[in-house]
């Protein structure tokens, strides 16, 4: 199996030097889809930010090794980071409501992605919208004119256009109703199948993670406490990870 992303002892420090993320290590194989699960504030989004070079200034990341297909990401200049972002590693964020620029049409923002990926803008955008089950008419709308689920699918369409080798999805279904969540996850799977991209799926909801991934990392207070197949989560040595698995079972048993 080809190792895509190699994270070894990644820490994120606050402006005062306190570790907010503490020596996190994991590997991600080519095309592999894994989950990253944990409570709010456990450091999931920080991990995502560090992997995209998108931490806000007083925060800083350092790691013993941070490699993508063997390339050292820590040695990258800002220009090299720009070349890497989007077409190699792309991230879609929670709160799709604010992720798109409210002053520009959806189509224009998708065309930008197509241009970055050096595709044929018009045809690719229409094609991408079709793949995520959106009306091509959506391209002519402004973000405020479409629903939250549609916006999230627009972001997935953007990922389709960029064809990254790794997609980081940070809570992409938070705040969506169950039906919409189902649709978005389906679309995400379609996009991954079409591009062969690897996926790091960040969520606090194990049920959503189980839909798209087979393996998951469990995060607690800035550390990774478990790295296992989801089916083995209920027999984990870590009590928090077991509790997660049991909670889902209890919930589903009741329904």
């Amino acid at each position: 199996m080809v190792t895509g992303l190699e994270v070894k002892s990644l820490s994120v420090l606050s402006g005062r030097g306190e570790p907010l993320l503490d020596r996190v290590s994991f590997n991600l194989a080519q095309g592999e889809r894994i989950g990253l699960i944990g409570a709010s504030g456990s450091g999931k989004s920080l991990t995502a930010g560090a992997l995209c070079g998108l931490l806000r200034p007083p925060l800083s990341a350092r790691a013993m090794a941070l490699r993508f297909y063997g390339n050292d990401m820590q040695a990258l200049t800002p220009r090299a980071w720009r070349a890497l972002r989007g077409t190699t590693i792309f991230q879609i964020f929670q709160s799709p409501g604010t992720a798109l620029n409210p002053a520009r049409k959806v189509g224009a923002q998708l065309v930008e992605a197509a241009v970055t990926a050096r595709g044929c803008p018009v045809r690719d955008v229409a094609d991408a919208l079709k793949r995520v089950a959106l009306d091509p008419e959506v391209a002519r709308k402004f973000p405020y004119q479409i629903s939250g689920g549609m916006k999230q699918r627009v972001l997935i369409a953007m990922a389709l256009l960029l064809r990254p080798r790794l997609l980081i999805a940070d809570e992409p279904t938070t705040g969506l109703d169950v039906l919409t969540e189902h649709e978005v996850l389906e679309t995400l799977a379609t996009m991954l199948d079409a591009t062969g991209a690897a996926l790091l799926f960040i969520s606090h909801d194990l049920r959503a993670v189980r839909r798209v991934a087979t393996r998951t990392l469990v995060m607690e207070a800035g550390q990774i406490v478990e790295d296992t197949a989801i089916s083995a989560l209920s027999t984990s040595r870590h009590s928090g990870a077991r509790a997660l698995a049991n909670a889902v079972e209890t919930l589903e048993g009741r329904c």
Binding site: G15, R56, P58, Q94
Partner: protein
């Protein structure tokens, strides 16, 4: 309207001060202001000639031991005039700001709290005044009252208050829309209590920023008016007026140009630094790095 998702704002709360114009600037501004206050009182401790004392024998003298900052075209001691101008210049700015707030505070609060027709009427009236450029309206008012320091205070305050009333209204409105303020209202707290305990504490910090930045602008405008000869009248020492008097002579006596100009600039800078420093402390958001 929340700008940042909760988890983000929590994660990124810690930040560094942003250089000189940031928190360091706040302290520098306070120090400068403190310096002016000390300077204002220095007159009573240091023996200097009275600021109005004319001595035609030592006209336009450069700085010396007797006159540390030299003398002006009438032989008056520049340092004494500089010190004598502190209460005049700063006092006029404070009086103007107080007058502005005395109108703007009740106006903006009433508009925001009453809402509906009262709000519309009050804001329409403010719009009418705001439809004129501030300095133009101030000039007109002074023109009708006759040139004096009092007239320039009235003129500036009369032209200035509507923008502040508008800002205050916006502050109160946005504070009232916050979830926890609504929750307090829903939980049965009386309207007065909601305003006093929940709305006011949110309005005061941004108001402090506005007041110090506006003080800087007011100080600039008032000294400009004195410079034009339609503010403080001779022989009252005032920085702008001192510069006006220096105009025909500054080729021969550059100290007459440098001293009062520097005084105005530093005083304005003090308020600007305090305002920006306070704003940096309040604005916890850090931009993304591209």
């Amino acid at each position: 309207m929340t700008d940042v998702p909760m988890s983000l704002s929590k994660t990124y709360r810690r930040r560094l001060p942003r250089g000189f114009a940031g928190r360091g600037g706040l302290w520098l501004g306070l120090a400068l202001l403190g310096g002016f206050v000390v300077l204002g009182f220095a007159g009573s401790f240091v023996s200097l000639p009275p600021p109005e004392k004319i001595d035609l024998l030592t006209r336009l003298a450069p700085p010396s031991a007797v006159h540390p900052l030299g003398t002006d075209h009438l032989g008056r001691d520049v340092l004494a005039r500089l010190i004598g101008a502190v209460p005049v210049s700063l006092g006029a700015a404070i009086a103007t700001m107080a007058a502005i707030l005395a109108i703007a505070l009740p106006w903006g609060l009433t508009a925001a709290l009453a809402g509906g027709k009262v709000d519309a009427l009050l804001m329409r009236l403010a719009d009418i005044v705001m439809a004129f450029p501030t300095l133009v309206l101030a000039l007109a008012v002074i023109g009708f009252l006759g040139a004096s320091l009092e007239a320039s205070i009235i003129g500036v305050a009369a032209a200035w208050w509507p923008s502040n009333a508008r800002l205050l209204r916006a502050l109160v409105l946005s504070a009232r829309q916050r979830d926890f303020v609504r929750a307090a209202g829903l939980a049965g707290a009386s309207p007065a209590r909601v305003i006093w305990r929940h709305v006011l504490p949110q309005v005061l910090p941004p108001l402090a920023v506005i007041v110090s930045l506006e003080m800087a602008s007011v100080l600039l405008v008032l000294s400009s008016l004195s410079f034009l000869g339609i503010g403080a009248q001779a022989p009252t020492p005032e920085w702008g007026a001192m510069l006006n008097e220096a105009r025909p002579f500054f080729a021969r006596a550059p100290h007459m140009l440098l001293v009062p100009g520097l005084a105005v600039t530093l005083a304005v800078l003090a308020f600007n630094l305090i305002g920006e420093g306070l704003r940096d402390m309040l604005d916890q958001r850090e931009p993304y790095k591209w």
